[in-house]
């Protein structure tokens, strides 16, 4: 102190500045004020962080340095019986852009992308030039490796603002093969067929993952939560891809050549009831479903009802034989026409009085003969048989929108109704129902429920379907089935029957034609158009496949034998060759189809 004073002697009594500055109290006080000010700033910030909007800041802090990834579940494939894909999921990406970055070089970049990704130049240019946007789709469902290559090339060429995101591709490698069954998926949802009906099973559950990153790499011991995705299950169908393809091509040719409205064909394994092919025409390309009208994107074979016509006679007459009311040799005198209630029943061809055996009635497809034979049934008997054959009930194979057909209720079942039902009118079926019913004869009188799915699968409606749930029911005795099979062989006989075109050289083929009048959609009456069909199985004495071909409204004047018969023969021979089924070599059926009045009955 003294020294200070002595240093500034001239200032005299004035308290020197140095004195105050040196005062510890004042220094302390100023220090405290400074500290308090700083602390109050901190305090204010603390209140702002914790009091005003703590969650937003917490989220921002969490977002800094952590990454959240969607772990998309792999959608299950739909496979044919040999594991070939009908629909499969492929790792894909969408290419996205940030227009705020890409605006400057939009034309060059659009040209580059249009060239590399095969997309439209002008659409791309517009997307790249959008104002006030940070996100634009450039291309969707690009194979992942291609998308990555393109983005990397773009970066190398000096274009910025492109990125890829996960976007799985649903591919239908076989195009239109089994498209009506498999269906298709839209941009974000399953829209039709198995894709939609088994969506829950196929889709699986997406997972997600959050973890801390540093410089683009995952920090090993950083915070991480992972919810693993549950992949969808594969759905294996009983369809044989190659056979289905061939069936579709034959069917398309048949429908086109007959100038018909539509057609369907079913190929069934006689023993197991597995459906090897279920074809519809017209069909659509599952890779481009929008190109086809909506009505062509359904499974007509399951959703269309129609009157089966004469194919029904197989069921009626085998029931008659099983009930002990007739045999293949039963003699029927067929008049030119037959009154039934207030109507008159005719045959498809004009004739005088015919003398046909029951086998001949079937081979010549005589309505009158069938009706006369069927009048021996007890009341209600025929209907019980038809129910056992599976008519009037859904087949429940896993196709959505299946029709159950129409089998008249007992309350409206009159003798007139029965007369018409005997030859396939006044009742309606779907194609698979009818194929399964005819297959009953092939399978020795035991109806095996058809299936389209291998193993078991649960539809979105909770219905369990598949080969594991297939049931068998005895409908007619094996003796009756055998007799019917021998009668059906006469149908394709060039001399005795009406459908020689369905014969396969070297094989024993059993079959039945059908030509039914169609009920128009508006008037509810027969509108003069026809449903022609052919159902049969081969080899007749050891059946392996049952094939059923239906053509709606052929305009070339053909019937079941001439339109559907050749298609049947083609499909059946392809199936026999493909599965290596040789002819049995046994002698074909020679059941008599006619008898002469006055002749002694052979049996």
């Amino acid at each position: 102190m003294r020294r200070t004073v002595s240093r500034y002697p001239r200032r005299g009594r004035v308290v020197p500045r140095g004195a105050l500055r040196g005062s510890p109290h004042l220094r302390l006080r100023l220090g405290f004020i400074a500290i308090a000010m700083v602390l109050s700033v901190f305090g204010a910030r603390l209140v702002q962080l914790q009091g005003v909007d703590p969650h937003a800041y917490a989220a921002m802090a969490a977002a800094e340095g952590t990454v959240t990834l969607d772990l998309p579940a792999h959608r299950g494939d739909i496979l044919d019986r040999n594991g070939k894909p009908l629909a499969d999921d492929i790792d894909g990406s969408m290419v996205v852009a940030d227009p705020s970055v890409t605006r400057d070089k939009a034309p060059e970049l659009a040209r580059f992308l249009a060239h590399r990704l095969d997309i439209d130049y002008f659409v791309t240019l517009k997307a790249l030039r959008q104002k006030d946007r940070k996100f634009a789709y450039i291309a969707r469902r690009v194979p992942a490796s291609k998308a990555a290559d393109v983005v990397a090339e773009a970066k190398a060429a000096g274009f910025k603002g492109l990125d890829t995101r996960h976007d799985p591709i649903r591919d239908y490698p076989a195009g239109d093969v089994a498209a009506n069954l498999v269906g298709f998926v839209g941009t974000d949802e399953a829209l039709a067929g198995f894709e939609s009906n088994f969506d829950e099973l196929l889709a699986g559950t997406d997972g997600s993952e959050r973890y801390a990153v540093g410089r683009g790499n995952r920090i090993p011991l950083g915070d991480a939560t992972t919810k693993l995705p549950v992949d969808g299950q594969d759905l294996q169908t009983t369809i044989d891809l190659d056979l289905q393809w061939y069936t579709q091509r034959v069917l398309r040719q048949t429908v086109e050549d007959a100038s018909a409205d539509s057609g369907f064909a079913v190929v069934m394994d006689s023993k197991t009831g597995e459906v090897l092919a279920l074809a519809d025409d017209p069909t659509f390309d599952a890779r481009n479903p929008q190109a086809a009208p909506r009505k062509d994107r359904v499974t007509r074979a399951m959703t269309d009802v129609y009157e089966p016509g004469s194919v029904e006679k197989v069921l009626t007459l085998s029931a008659l034989i099983d009930a002990g009311k007739a045999t293949a040799h039963t003699r029927v005198t067929v008049p030119p026409e037959l009154p039934s209630g207030d109507r008159v029943i005719h045959d498809w061809f004009d004739h005088g009085t015919l003398y046909l055996t029951l086998a001949g009635v079937l081979a010549q497809s005589s309505n009158i003969g069938t009706v006369l034979a069927t009048r021996n049934f007890d009341s209600g008997q025929l209907r019980d048989y038809l129910v056992k054959f599976g008519l009037g009930q859904k087949t429940n194979v896993g196709v959505a929108g299946e029709t159950q057909g129409i089998l008249p209720d007992p309350s409206i079942w009159t003798s007139m109704t029965q007369d018409r039902i005997a030859f396939g009118q006044s009742l309606s079926v779907n194609a698979l129902q009818m194929a399964a019913a005819v297959n009953t004869i092939a399978n020795g009188g035991v109806r095996v429920s058809p299936s389209l799915i291998r193993g078991t699968a649960v539809t979105d409606d909770g219905l369990v379907v598949g080969t594991d749930t297939a049931t068998t029911t005895r409908v007619v005795s094996s003796a009756a089935a055998k007799q019917m099979s021998r009668m059906m062989e006469r149908v394709v006989d060039p001399d005795a029957g009406v459908a020689p075109a369905a014969q396969i050289a070297g094989y024993r083929v059993a079959g039945k034609t059908g030509t039914a009048q169609r009920v128009g959609p508006f008037c509810g009456c027969y509108n003069g158009t026809f449903t022609v069909s052919f159902a049969g199985f081969a080899p007749a004495d050891k059946p392996r496949f049952t094939v059923y071909v239906v053509v709606q409204n052929p305009r070339n004047g053909g019937g079941g034998g001439s339109v559907a018969g050749p298609a049947f023969a083609k499909i059946m021979s392809y199936a026999l060759r493909r599965y290596g089924v040789p002819p049995t070599g046994s002698a074909p059926s020679q059941l008599p189809t006619t008898w002469r009045p006055g002749q002694v009955a052979s049996r």
Binding site: D88, P143, N217, R218, P220, A499, V563
Partner: protein, 194 residues
């Protein structure tokens, strides 16, 4: 130390008794513990070594884990790329073995799907079934028919029949071709009514 012994020897034990006692007590003083002054250096070295080893070890562990994380990330990326490529290739493969494509190629080579199956049994060389040569009529149309054009765009062919003036060979050849055409057409449309 030597004086108590001397006193005992001089016989003045009694007089010396208290002194002896005190002397004895003095003798019982705690012997100072032998403190070896060891150097603290080894211990310090050990501790600092442990510390250093720990720190360095941790650092190296951390570094190696980071390194592994980098490697894992890049390998995962590589795996994803390869997986994507595999799937793309599989997709291409599916396109290549599409039955429609295979059939079209086969048809271009003149192959036909036969209509009547026949088998050759290897055990006895017997032919099962009826073997027949596949003909054009057996083939299946693989593509849908092109839509029908209006008459304006699809005029009827203008057929001019020219009679060959010399030699019958030309005529016969032409007639055969016409016949072939006719049979092609009828082969597509099945005739007969049942």
């Amino acid at each position: 130390m030597s004086s108590p012994a001397f006193q005992i020897r001089s016989g003045r034990i009694r007089a010396a008794a208290p002194g002896v006692q005190s002397a004895l007590r003095a003798r019982l003083t705690v012997v100072p513990r032998l403190r070896t002054r060891t150097s603290p250096l080894p211990f310090v070295t050990l501790v600092s070594f442990l510390l250093l080893a720990g720190v360095i070890g941790l650092l190296m562990f951390n570094t190696s884990m980071q390194q592994a994380a980098f490697a894992a990330t890049s390998m995962e990326q590589q795996a994803a790329t390869l997986n994507a490529r595999e799937q793309t290739l599989r997709m291409e493969l599916d396109v290549l073995r599409d039955p429609q494509r295979v059939a079209l190629k086969a048809q271009q080579l003149g192959m036909v799907i036969p209509s009547s199956p026949a088998f050759l049994r290897l055990s006895d060389g017997k032919v099962l079934g009826t073997p027949a040569a596949a003909t054009r009529e057996d083939g299946v149309r693989l593509l849908p028919r092109p839509p029908k054009k209006p008459a304006v765009l699809d005029p009827a062919p203008n057929v001019v029949k020219v009679r060959a003036e010399n030699g019958a060979a030309g005529t016969a050849h032409g007639a055969a071709r016409d016949k072939n055409k006719a049979s092609d057409r009828s082969g597509n449309q099945s005739s007969g009514n049942r």
